[in-house]
């Protein structure tokens, strides 16, 4: 069973990684990905809205999909919501396995699927006071599709 959290608070990469290996000796590798808020085009902040209830279900389903495709010893998905400033971490994916390729591939899979299958919406705020909703990207659909969604 994956560890899935939806929260406003910052997560702790080191502590989350340690949780996946502590007290066990069958983990050969832990892959991780941290998604961070960039300050593109004068972006001042970004607010992530989500669908409480469905978000947790969707993240758990995505993590279960990864666990069914790769032999993982552990899997953690933490997605923040609320207002983020440039440089703030937004999402954390961690996958642990006996072998590195399972960990690395499933980590890439999870972040690709999160982009297109988790109910989050980003609103960008710019330095000039304007705001806009981020459009879904065709490249994210393509990235999801490469896993035979």
């Amino acid at each position: 069973m994956a560890r899935v959290l939806v929260q406003r608070e910052v997560f702790d990469l080191g502590a989350e990684s340690a949780l996946l290996s502590e007290g066990r000796t069958d983990v050969g590798g832990i892959a991780s990905f941290v998604g961070i808020c960039r300050a593109d085009d004068g972006l001042a902040a970004m607010t992530l809205e989500h669908y409480p209830g469905m978000t947790e279900r969707a993240l758990a389903a995505i993590a279960a999909q990864a666990e069914s495709r790769w032999p993982l010893t552990g899997c953690t998905v933490i997605h923040r919501h609320g207002r983020m400033l440039p440089g703030d971490p937004i999402v954390l994916v961690l996958t642990a396995s006996r072998h590195r390729i399972a960990a690395l591939e499933s980590c890439a899979f999870l972040i690709d699927w999160l982009k297109t299958k988790a109910p989050f919406w980003k609103a960008e705020e710019f330095a000039d006071g304007t705001t806009r909703w981020v459009d879904a990207k065709a490249e994210d659909d393509a990235a999801t599709a490469r896993w035979g969604a």
Binding site: A118, P119, F120, W121, K122, A123, D135, A136, D140
Partner: protein, 83 residues
């Protein structure tokens, strides 16, 4: 039927959620969207471009042909942009 709106759909409708009793001819997500578009100028604006709206029925993504019933929770929102 409980309805939830997110992102710009929420902003255009002007509500985060509402409870409605659609007429019996509303049988699926597509029918619900057509009916909702008649409820207010905000709803009309939000649902004017149905192709840009996605739905979930009882917290699962649902295509326009998905049946809806009185006790369902139905959400409308733009394509997701998480991660």
């Amino acid at each position: 039927m409980k309805l939830l709106y997110f992102a710009w759909v929420r902003q255009k409708v002007g509500l985060a959620e509402e409870t409605v009793t659609p007429p019996p001819e509303v049988r699926d997500v597509a029918g619900l969207m057509s009916w909702l578009a008649t409820r207010s100028p905000g709803h009309a604006d939000a649902f004017a471009h149905a192709a840009q709206i996605r739905a979930a029925v009882n917290q699962d993504f649902a295509p326009a042909s998905t049946p809806v019933a009185a006790n369902d929770e139905v959400a409308f929102f733009p394509p997701v942009t998480g991660g």
